[in-house]
C-alpha cells in the first residue's frame, strides 16, 4: 500500500472511531448496537490487507477508548489482537473469500473481543481493584446481527464495485498487490 492509502486508512479509522464512540452511542436501541469498526477491520482482512486491518482496528479502537463511557480497559488492544488472530485464521483455516466466510470471520472477531472484554473486566477488578462494567450478553446478539449485516453489505459492495471476488476473473485483473 502506498502512503496515500495509509493516510486514508488512518483518517477513516479516526472518523469511524468517533462515529461509533459519540454519534452512535447517543442513538436509541437497537441503533446504538451498530459497531462498524470490527466489521470494517475484518473487511480489510478479507481484502488481503491484514496490516491495514490491524492499524485500522488499533486507531479506531483508541479513539473509542478516548471517548467511550463503557470503561473496559485495553479495548483497543483487544481489538487489535482479535484482528491479528482473524488475519491468521483467514490465511490458514478460512481461506476462501465469500460472504459466508466474511460473516464467520466477523462473528469470530466479535467473540474474541467479547471474551477479552470479560477477561479484562475480571482482571481489572482483580489486579487494579477497579470495577469495570463488562459488556452484557443480552445485547450481544443484536451487535452480532449488526456486524453480520454490515460486513455482508460491505462485502457485496466491494464485490460489485471492484469485481474483486469474481472467481472467473484472472488475478492479473484484480487490485491485489500482494
Amino acid at each position: 500500500m502506498n502512503r496515500r492509502r495509509w493516510a486514508l486508512v488512518v483518517i477513516g479509522a479516526v472518523v469511524i472511531g468517533l462515529f461509533q464512540a459519540t454519534l452512535i452511542s447517543v442513538l436509541p436501541s437497537p441503533w446504538r448496537e451498530l459497531q462498524p469498526v470490527l466489521p470494517l477491520s475484518v473487511l480489510f482482512v478479507v481484502l488481503n490487507r491484514p496490516k491495514a486491518a490491524v492499524v485500522f482496528a488499533g486507531i479506531a479502537g483508541f479513539i473509542i477508548h478516548l471517548f467511550s463511557v463503557d470503561t473496559v480497559p485495553f479495548a483497543f488492544i483487544w481489538m487489535m489482537l482479535a484482528i491479528a488472530i482473524i488475519a491468521g485464521l483467514s490465511r490458514s483455516v478460512l481461506t476462501n473469500r465469500s460472504m459466508y466466510a466474511t460473516a464467520a470471520l466477523v462473528f469470530g472477531a466479535r467473540m474474541i473481543v467479547q471474551l477479552c472484554a470479560f477477561l479484562s473486566s475480571f482482571l481489572g477488578s482483580f489486579m487494579f481493584k477497579v470495577s469495570y462494567s463488562a459488556p452484557s450478553f443480552s445485547r450481544l446478539w443484536i451487535v452480532v446481527l449488526w456486524d453480520i449485516v454490515f460486513a455482508s453489505i460491505g462485502f457485496l459492495a466491494v464485490a460489485i464495485f471492484t469485481r474483486r471476488f469474481l472467481v472467473t476473473l484472472n488475478r492479473a485483473y484484480t487490485y491485489d498487490e500482494s
Binding site: 454519534l23 452511542s25 436509541p28 463503557d70 491479528a84 452484557s136 445485547r139
Partner: protein
C-alpha cells in the same frame, strides 16, 4: 512462512508493548492531546447524533401525545421547583436563610456541558461530558439540569472530559433528605434502566407517596435542596427497621443533551 511468523511475532510484541505503556500510564499525555484535538469533532458528532436520535425516536402516531407529555413534564418540573421554593420559604425559612448565606459565602456557579457519549449498557447510566479538570470540574461535583434538578455526579475525570454517573446507575448512591426537613433520612440507589430507589429510611420518619426527595447536602461537593425525584410506592412492613420506596427521577436521562456541573465559584479558572 518464516516472514509470516516474524510478522506475527512483531505484531504481538507491539500489542504487548502498547499494553505495558497503557498500564504504566505513559500513554496519558498522548490520550490528553488526542482528546483535545478531537473534542470539537466529537461534539459535532454528538450534535448530529442528537438530531438523528430526535428523528428516530418520535412515532408519527404518538407525536401529539409526546408533545403534550413533554409540555406537561415541563410544567410539572416548573411546579415542583416552585413547590420546593414555597415549602422552603414557609417551613424552613431559617434553613433557607442559612442556605443563601452558604451560597453567598461559598458560591456555586454552573459549568454548562454537552453530553458527547452515553453508556450502551442498560444497567449502567453514565454519560461523558465535554468538560474536564481544565474547566475546573472535580470528581464528586453535582450535575444538574434546569433550576436545580439533580441528575448525577462526576465520577471520573480527565483534562477535557468527565464521566457523570446518573442517579439511576446501579453504582450511584446519593444521600437524600425529605423536602422541608433538611436532614439526612435515606439513600437514593440507582437500579439501572432509568429506575432509582429510596432506601434505608428509618421507620420513624414519615414518608408518603408524592413526597419530594432532595439532596441532603452531606456530601462535600453536592449542595443540599437539589431535587432528586418523587416518591412512588412505599414498601416495607411496620416491623421492619427501615422502609424503602421506588423513586421517580425528575430528569429523563434519555432526553438529556446539555447539563450543568455545579462548581464552587472559588474553583473557577482565571
Amino acid at each position: 512462512m518464516r516472514v509470516r511468523l516474524t510478522a506475527s511475532v512483531v505484531v504481538i510484541l507491539c500489542i504487548i508493548a502498547v499494553a505495558i505503556l497503557y498500564v504504566a500510564r505513559m500513554l496519558q499525555p498522548l490520550e490528553n492531546g488526542a482528546r483535545t484535538v478531537l473534542l470539537p469533532a466529537g461534539r459535532f458528532f454528538a450534535v448530529v447524533g442528537s438530531s438523528v436520535r430526535g428523528a428516530l425516536l418520535p412515532d408519527p402516531a404518538v407525536d401529539k401525545l409526546q408533545e403534550r407529555n413533554t409540555e406537561l413534564e415541563a410544567r410539572l418540573e416548573g411546579l415542583v421547583v416552585d413547590y420546593v421554593r414555597l415549602r422552603a420559604l414557609e417551613e424552613e425559612n431559617r434553613a433557607l436563610q442559612q442556605l443563601i448565606a452558604f451560597q453567598k459565602d461559598t458560591g456555586y456557579d454552573g459549568v454548562p456541558a454537552r453530553i458527547i457519549a452515553r453508556s450502551s449498557e442498560p444497567r449502567s447510566a453514565t454519560v461523558l461530558i465535554d468538560r474536564g479538570s481544565k474547566d475546573g470540574v472535580e470528581t464528586g461535583m453535582a450535575v444538574i439540569i434546569g433550576n436545580g434538578i439533580f441528575v448525577g455526579k462526576v465520577t471520573a475525570l480527565r483534562e477535557r472530559i468527565a464521566t457523570v454517573t446518573l442517579v439511576s446507575d446501579e453504582r450511584s448512591r446519593i444521600a437524600a433528605a425529605a423536602l422541608g426537613r433538611g436532614k439526612l433520612f435515606g439513600l437514593v440507589e440507582g437500579r439501572g434502566n432509568g429506575v432509582a430507589r429510596l432506601t434505608l429510611v428509618p421507620q420513624s420518619e414519615p414518608l408518603e407517596r408524592d413526597d419530594i426527595v432532595v439532596t441532603a447536602g452531606t456530601e462535600e461537593k453536592i449542595p443540599a435542596h437539589l431535587v432528586v425525584g418523587i416518591v412512588n410506592d412505599i414498601e416495607g412492613k411496620p416491623t421492619d427497621p427501615f422502609k424503602n420506596a421506588s423513586l421517580e427521577p425528575m430528569a429523563k436521562t434519555e432526553q438529556l443533551n446539555v447539563v450543568m456541573v455545579l462548581r464552587p465559584a472559588a474553583l473557577r479558572p482565571q
